[in-house]
């Protein structure tokens, strides 16, 4: 058998290659300066992300390496999100790297960049093998980053917990993928779709029950990455223990990576099995159940938290539930809504975590009670926190409102399209109810900050990069709240590309 190199173009892979090299540059720079580089290494990493974004904007669309590397609008859209999340995570890390991580700054930033490279590969891949490897490249640096404070028991715990859970979820995902391969005889997702359809036609519509196993294990694997209940238990502990910017990066970057993996496998590869007609292989209702569980459990549990990182962890679980609503709305609006939601979620969540980082740097605590009276000593940051939390809650005119609006609208449009999808009304109903519920705990933090009897003993002095991150977050939340069309127009094309 003569195997051939698929058509390839280095140009398409330039952003990833650059970022990979840049990660090595960052690590080496820290070594060359004998670990005394201070903030310079962090600025270097941020510069690399900006340059990478620049390269990404001029590479255009096309095939990088057969089906394993495709720069389509979906990939580019999510790559922008990954780069943004990494940029904001690094920007809010300077407080930590100045004091706590003095020996391994280069590795810290380098691993964030390497993880981002993995996410970008993942977003570009339309083939199960490279997709899986991209996902591993995403998560393995994150295991290390989560346990980066070696002297802190909580951090070590979170690192180990995340690693074990990550390993289990990868195993489940691989198990599912192996069945898909066994059924279709290919790892190419588009070819897989065709082969599955051919097999199904050849067997008079019967493809066997094995697809249930594949779907369930893949959903479980991705569910771990997205922290969808019942696969969410790791999330609060890991977020609490790991360095705060890493928790933020986990909640946005890693989650977006999981979303991309979901889009590629389920929405592209198993698209045909969404319909209720396909019982018992229909995966739509399964995802719907997961979404409901996420929205309900995430929001309910968040209320009881006194640690803001745990609260944000549960909040991000709930947000993943809302994103899943957009996923199961498999119409022309669904994926667009998901894209927009993730985009906006990045600004709001990264911004909120940036402020949590600033507070933690100053007060050494993540308790919600330590936010008491902050509005009097640091009015700007308190206002910014309020904006971010309200955006997460979905209050107009902030961007979070439109994100939720698009998701629900897509689901309702789908529910009205045919009789088989009326269960989506229930999904939207639960979504709306829990949104109201969510307002309570978001408002609770704002209340603590604004309506305390005494002024806070702390005056927050964020470092310049952290301020930059907060400013970017604010701009994102406000601008896309006023003019969501700019991104929505871009995101609207996504379903077209995923279908072709």
């Amino acid at each position: 058998m003569e195997a051939q190199l698929p058509p390839y173009s280095i140009k398409m892979m330039l952003p990833e290659l650059f970022l990979f090299v840049w990660a090595l540059v960052v690590i080496t720079f820290d070594l060359l300066t004998r670990r005394k580089s201070g903030s310079a290494v962090g600025y270097l990493a941020m510069l690399g992300l900006v340059i990478c974004g620049g390269i990404l904007s001029i590479t255009g669309y096309g095939r990088g390496f057969g089906m394993m590397f495709i720069n389509d609008p979906v990939a580019v859209f999510f790559k922008v999100i990954f780069l943004g999340a990494a940029f904001m995570a690094i920007g809010s890390s300077f407080g930590i790297t100045n004091r706590k991580i003095v020996n391994h700054r280069g590795e810290y930033f380098g691993l964030i960049l390497l993880s981002t490279v993995g996410m970008m590969f993942l977003a570009s891949s339309q083939e199960l093998l490279s997709l899986y490897i991209g996902l591993e490249l995403t998560t393995i640096p994150l295991f290390v980053l989560a346990g980066f404070f070696k002297d802190d028991r909580k951090s070590v715990e979170s690192g180990i917990k995340y690693m074990i859970m990550g390993a289990l979820s990868s195993a489940l995902l691989l198990y599912g993928i192996s069945f898909l391969y066994g059924l279709s005889g290919t790892t190419d997702i588009v070819q897989m779709k065709i082969n599955l359809a051919v097999t199904q036609l050849a067997n008079e519509g019967d493809i066997g029950v094995i697809l249930i196993l594949a779907t369930v294990t893949i959903l479980a694997g991705i569910g771990f990455k997205l922290a969808l209940p019942p696969f969410h238990q790791w999330a609060p502990d890991v977020y609490e223990g790991s360095p705060t910017p890493i928790a933020a990066f986990l909640s946005v970057g890693s989650k977006a990576a999981g979303i991309v993996a979901f889009v590629k496998i389920m929405m592209l590869g198993l698209e045909a099995f969404y319909d209720p007609v396909m019982k018992p292989n229909d995966w739509g209702i399964l995802v719907g159940v997961l979404a409901i569980a996420a929205m309900v459990w995430g929001n309910v549990a968040a209320v009881r938290q006194s640690n803001i990182k745990r609260m944000l962890a549960f909040s991000s679980i709930a947000q993943a539930g809302y994103i899943m609503i957009g996923m199961v709305a498999m119409n022309q609006y669904g994926l667009a809504a998901v894209g927009f939601y993730t985009f906006v979620y990045m600004f709001a969540n990264m911004g909120a975590f940036a402020i949590v980082t600033v507070v933690e740097d100053q007060t050494g605590s993540c308790k919600i009670s330590s936010y008491a009276g902050l509005s009097r000593t640091s009015p700007f940051l308190s206002a910014a926190l309020a904006v971010f939390l309200l955006s997460l809650a979905g209050i107009p005119p902030l961007a979070g409102f439109f994100a939720k609006y698009y998701v629900f609208a897509a689901a309702i449009a789908m529910a009205g399209s045919s009789n088989g999808h009326t269960w989506l009304y229930w999904l939207v109903g639960v979504g709306l109810l829990t949104t109201v519920f969510a307002l309570y705990y978001y408002a609770n933090v704002i209340k603590t900050a604004y309506f305390a009897r005494e002024a806070s003993p702390y005056r927050l002095r964020p470092l310049r990069p952290a301020l930059l991150v907060i400013a970017i977050g604010l701009l994102g939340v406000l601008i896309f709240g006023v003019v969501p069309e700019t991104i929505v127009d871009f995101a609207r094309d996504l379903p077209y590309y995923i279908a072709h």
Binding site: A3, N103, S130, G208, V209, I210
Partner: protein, 169 residues
């Protein structure tokens, strides 16, 4: 060289070895014995690969899992005096729930696999020289993932060194 009728017996023997040693790995109290049974379990899996004519996979399985992973695990056990000296209880209070969940998953998976007969790969024959084929594919069609794996290993290595390094040196 061995007839199909005998591969059945050999398969069941190997499968029994995998299952029994696998069970011992997660139930024995002496963690060193667990590691030894892990070696046996992984070797038996390599034997099953051999039965499936996947020689390369079998050798890689032994080389990587027995030769590298297990040895490093045994190393870690030997270096950790707390683990080495005492009996380790491998279960916690969730054991019963976990048992039932795994049983449901395992039996469900078996039922589903048994209920499916449409496997696309089962009808295709293996190329005669499958190592050369694997090599060619890795260097052509699957070259990108193959290269990305090296990035992955680099990241893992950097991470491991960061975590394992003694601070303040």
């Amino acid at each position: 060289m061995v007839e199909a009728a005998d591969t059945g017996v050999v398969f069941w023997l190997l499968a029994a070895a995998v299952l029994i040693s696998g069970f011992l790995v997660v139930s024995l109290k002496n963690i060193f014995h667990c590691a030894i049974f892990l070696v046996i379990c992984l070797t038996a899996v390599a034997g099953i690969f051999l039965l499936l004519d996947a020689e390369f996979l079998a050798a890689a399985q032994v080389l990587i899992y027995v030769g590298a992973v297990s040895i490093l695990m045994i190393f870690a056990i030997m270096l950790t005096s707390r683990l080495a000296a005492h009996n380790v209880i491998q279960t916690n209070r969730h054991a019963i729930i976990a048992f039932f969940i795994s049983m449901v998953f395992g039996l469900g998976a078996i039922a589903l696999i048994a209920g499916t007969h449409i496997w696309r790969l089962a009808i295709e024959t293996l190329p005669a020289d499958n190592i050369a084929t694997i090599g060619k594919l890795l260097m052509t069609e699957f070259m990108l993932p193959f290269e990305v794996v090296s990035v992955l290993l680099l990241a893992a290595m950097i991470g491991a060194i960061v975590l394992a390094r003694k601070e303040g040196s």
